[in-house]
Amino acid sequence: MGAPTALSVRGVGKSFKRRRVLDDVSFDVRQGEALAVIGENGAGKTTLLRICAGVLAADRGIVARPDRLAYCPQEAGLIDHLTVDEHLRYVGAGRGLSAAEARARGGALLEWLRYPAGETATVRELSTGTRQKVNLALALMDGGPLILLDEPYQGFDRGTYENFWEHVETWRDQGAAVVVVTHMLAELHRVTHVLELRVGGGWALDGRGAAA
């Protein structure tokens, strides 16, 4: 018997106005597995991940997922005039953490991401890559058995980028299910499954097509 399912997607479809983006997409991700979602621009990768995270409604289909999850959106969900420390405390309070706990957990994540120590600027003053590191750290603050990442390494320096993919494997080893939207096809050996989305709604899981 395989590991328990951490994310189950069945028959999910989504259209924007008359443009079909996702059509009857179905897959499972089990604990300890990593799924890469690939496809050209406009194929629906971000849409699918947003539906999986619950921040966008599907037109049809069912998504089953655990209550707790880590979701790192492509567009950083940051408040421009707050500092990183204030973001850690803000998000931490939502998770029931004290300011000290939020700083400790977020600080460890930021250290892992090679975030510049002692940075006190507001996030609007940070570079794209540094903002993305903050975005990823906030998403991962409380962990969870399901990790959804939408091209989380944009703007990362090379060292942090390589470290990120090594951590995908670590998270898998630790029993988390990881879904990563990526254009980095050279890294696909690091995942257990590949879901390719095609413009117009078609898709294939591990090379096996399921729709036109």
Binding site: A64, R65, H81, L82, V91, G94, G96, G143, H167, G175
Partner: protein
């Protein structure tokens, strides 16, 4: 709803707003410009009581505009963070109420100061004027929340608020949300009005309730998270046994245990 989380939201958005110095300066300066430019026009001969009243009302409406726009900025300025914050465990009511609290504190600081400033310039009943402008600020917060829920960006929202305040100054005033505060402000200027104070206050409170309810409904509809179907019971139990990711993330990859915390 947890008070500590509500307070955290209010404090964080207070800090965010306080650092938008240019925007804040414009919000404070604009009603002052409205008011003092009108006063300068009255310097000449032949000013009537109606002219005095017009300056008073336009200045007060300027302050209402400023509070509405502040509410718009506070609610819309964190738009991208709304759903991540909900995923982090906040309730929608905590996020919105905390932000409303931020703007109400700002209004509590600005409106008495503005009332006193007018009082030093014109012959007005300070208590009634403060009540009118204060009540106007409360209605304006609700107007700003609704504008933020209706339109996606600040610029469109500012235009909506300008439209509301602009129409407020026309013959349609009795059907507009700031009619009640406007009646109190006119009364403070010593001009007889047909409405009673309770009628004006009731109009303002009903307007606030309607605007805020519409704003909350639209905003919650925009940010709400989709319910997920439950995982099979066995899977759910096992999934919850996974150790939190956060602890392992603190460990550098090269020293991370190879198999110590696997399921």
């Amino acid at each position: 709803m947890k008070p500590t989380r509500l307070l955290t939201v209010a404090v964080m958005h207070g800090r965010d707003l306080s650092r938008r110095r240019l925007a804040l300066a414009i919000l404070v300066a604009l009603p002052l410009v409205f008011y003092f430019s009108g006063r300068m026009q009255l310097e000449g001969a032949g000013t009537t009581a109606d002219d005095q009243l017009w300056v008073l009302v336009s200045g007060a409406m300027g302050s209402c505009w400023a509070i509405s726009v502040a509410a718009l900025f506070v609610v819309n300025g964190s738009r991208r963070a709304d759903q991540p914050l909900l995923l982090a465990g906040y309730r929608a009511a905590e996020l919105l109420l905390g932000r409303v609290l931020t703007v109400l504190v700002l209004a509590a600081l600005i409106t008495p100061a503005f009332s006193v400033l007018i009082w030093t310039q014109q012959d007005v009943d300070l208590a009634v004027l403060t009540a009118g402008i204060g009540l106007g600020a409360v209605v304006s917060v609700a107007t700003g929340v609704l504008a933020a829920a209706l339109v996606p960006r600040d610029m469109e929202g500012v235009l909506v608020v300008i439209g509301v305040v602009g129409v407020q100054m026309t013959a349609l005033e009795p059907w507009m949300p700031l009619w009640g505060p406007g009646e109190l402000i006119v009364r403070a200027g010593g001009v007889a009005v047909t409405s009673t104070v309770p009628e004006a206050v009731a109009h303002a409170l009903v307007s606030t309730t309607v605007l805020m309810a519409a704003g909350v409904l639209l905003w919650v509809r925009r940010v709400r998270l989709q319910r997920a179907a439950p995982l099979p019971a066995a899977a759910t139990a096992a999934v919850r046994d996974v150790p939190p990711v956060r602890e392992e993330l603190a460990v550098p990859v090269e020293t991370a245990p190879a198999d110590g915390r696997t399921t």
